[in-house]
């Protein structure tokens, strides 16, 4: 059911990423998402970056609506429905968390639940540049080590976080990997982990409209990301030709990752 909530706090996490908190009482688990509506603008799926107490989303300014969300202030009203989707299994074991850019948002509450339940955590985060590394300080007290990588070398390893992961996964033993970030990154993480027999769980993102498994906007192979996901086993994703290759625009056309959106006629032509 949709409800209107008031933004109770706003934190600028990185130059491009903002956390908004709001009060909500529906149970939510790490991995799940809500449909966040900015009245007068669009409604977007947003993973919960805080699942307990005051709920929160951590949003990166990408398109017009996400940019609008990052400009919201304390006291502004937002519409929320959900939470939807499945969750990370936080049963105690040793997890390697691999976050790319704002993808770390959905992994952080899972990491907190894991460690609280007695699990062990190692973290690898990547970003374009140092100031864009998300939640490094939030995760540091939970993890035995936090490895950082930046494309420009301004902090940590100079290069992709996937290089760090490829090395870590052969040196240390992990029970599973959790990852969220650009799909090409996740598929490289999956490949590295599967070579050493470590299962991977990926949180994937697709365009969404209904969030209740009916409109097919979020179709990914035989799955609907809104209902069957957003957390999928890497071994399942690996077999789908779309994974790390294409997604669908709001009209349903398949687009390769990284291509500019084609122009479309207005809805009421």
């Amino acid at each position: 059911m949709r409800r209107i909530r008031t933004v109770t706090s706003r934190v600028q996490e990185t130059p491009s990423t903002v956390t908004l908190r709001f009060f909500d009482d529906l149970p939510a688990a790490p991995g799940q998402f809500v449909m966040l509506w900015v009245p007068g603008d669009d409604e977007l799926p947003m993973s919960l970056s805080f699942c307990e107490g005051e709920r929160g989303v951590t949003v990166k300014s990408m398109g017009a609506t996400s940019a609008h969300i990052t400009r919201l202030q304390e006291g502004d009203k937002i519409g929320v429905r959900g939470p939807y989707g499945n969750q990370f299994d936080v049963a105690p074991r040793h997890i390697l968390l691999v976050g790319g850019g704002s993808g770390t948002a959905v992994l952080a509450p899972a990491a907190e639940a894991l460690v609280r339940g007695g699990g062990e955590l190692t973290v690898a985060l990547g970003a374009t540049t140092g100031p864009e590394l998300l939640f490094a300080e939030r995760l540091r007290p939970l993890a035995d080590a936090v490895h950082l990588a930046t494309d420009d070398g301004s902090e940590g390893y100079h290069g992709f976080v996937t290089d760090v992961v490829t090395r870590l996964i052969t040196m240390q033993s992990f029970d599973a990997v959790w990852t969220c970030g650009p799909e090409v990154m996740m598929s490289k993480v999956e490949a590295a982990a599967s070579r050493v027999g470590v299962p991977v769980w990926c949180s994937v993102e697709r365009h969404m409209k209904c969030a209740v498994g009916i409109c097919d906007a979020c179709a990914l192979g035989p799955f609907h990301v809104c209902q069957d996901g957003p957390v999928f086993p890497g071994a399942t994703l690996r077999r789908l030709e779309e994974f790390a290759h294409s997604h669908r625009d709001p009209s349903g056309r398949k687009l390769p990752f990284g291509s500019p959106p084609p122009t479309t006629l207005p809805p009421s032509s």
Binding site: C210, C215, P250, G252, R253, T264
Partner: protein
């Protein structure tokens, strides 16, 4: 074991349960998944000439067990791009009905020709989407246009043509009569019922488009009445749709006069498995009622009643 087979005109179906248009229709793989789960056929998303994004979100409002309000705005990738999805759907042998929408008879005709080339088993004309300017029920509410569009499509393609009509008219059955005049092979009824949601905190409509269409259990009694009235007025088969989620819902539509039924909103809770569950349930229920086949039920509730 009761016989689940039925037919809509010349088209033979292994089950009377079909997937409704606009549900799981963006991807061919999703359509195939519904067919593989036991649907008698699957209806494609309504496809137009050009790609359309549809309306911005919110496009959906949920009403729990009653159903859903939607104003998707006919999003679709356009006929050219959709061919690949239809090919994927038909790969495993799925029986696909191609749904199309246009602004006028000539656009419907062009789309029908393109859709026919993809190997679909029949065409469904969307004359009934309640929330798109110049499309759907805005033209489908006019009996003259219904006849004209149906005739243009019938003259162009050798396929069975199903006219999907709107319940948002004073006399929906008159629209079915108009489709028959244009040569329709079957009537699909109903599309969603015009509806809206307003938020009190914000004092504004919830859906970006304002008006939308209601579907799910809340509309079943409306759909039943429309199918009932159409059955009394036309001789061609009817495909019933609106709020079906249980075995008895489906049987009620058959009794009202439908030869087959479509399922939409119930998929949100039941997933593809709903088709196999309901197929088994119908078979069991017919055995219990000592009725040998689905076809024996079609229109049976009309026997011995006065025209309503």
């Amino acid at each position: 074991m009761a016989d689940l087979r039925t037919r809509v005109g010349a088209l033979e179906l292994r089950s009377p349960l079909l997937l409704a248009s606009g549900i799981w229709g963006e991807s061919g793989v999703s359509l195939r998944r519904a067919y593989d789960a036991g649907a008698g056929a699957v209806v494609s998303k309504s496809i137009g000439s050009e790609p359309r994004d549809g309306y911005p979100n919110p496009t959906i409002e949920e009403y729990g067990s009653w159903g859903l309000l939607n104003a998707m705005g006919l999003p679709n990738p356009g006929m050219v791009a959709y061919r690949g999805e239809l090919a994927a759907a038909r790969q495993g042998g799925a029986v696909v009905i191609g749904s199309i929408f246009g602004h006028d008879a000539s656009e419907f005709r062009t789309l029908a020709l393109a859709m026919a080339e993809t190997g679909v088993a029949a065409l469904e004309l969307n004359l009934s989407c309640p929330h798109a300017e110049g499309l759907g029920s805005e033209i489908g509410g006019d009996p003259t246009l219904v006849t004209e569009i149906t005739r243009a499509v019938k003259e162009a393609v050798p396929l069975p043509v199903w006219a999907k009509i709107t319940p948002n008219a004073a006399d929906p059955a008159a629209l079915a009569v108009a489709a028959v005049a244009g040569g329709a092979d079957a009537i699909t009824a109903i599309n969603t019922v015009r509806a809206m949601a307003i938020d009190v905190d914000l004092q504004r409509p919830v859906l970006t488009h304002g008006l939308g269409g209601l579907s799910g259990p809340a509309v079943k009694p409306i759909g039943l009445a429309v199918v009932w009235q159409i059955y009394e007025r036309v001789q061609i088969p009817i495909v019933g749709v609106g709020g079906i989620s249980t075995v008895d819902d489906a049987l009620q539509y058959l009794l009202a006069g439908a030869s087959a039924v479509q399922i939409g909103t119930a998929i949100t809770h039941g997933g593809a498995g709903l088709f196999s569950t309901l197929n088994a349930g119908i078979s069991h229920r017919l055995d219990e009622l000592k009725i040998p086949s689905v076809t024996a039920l079609i229109g049976a509730a009309h026997r011995g009643t006065q025209s309503v």
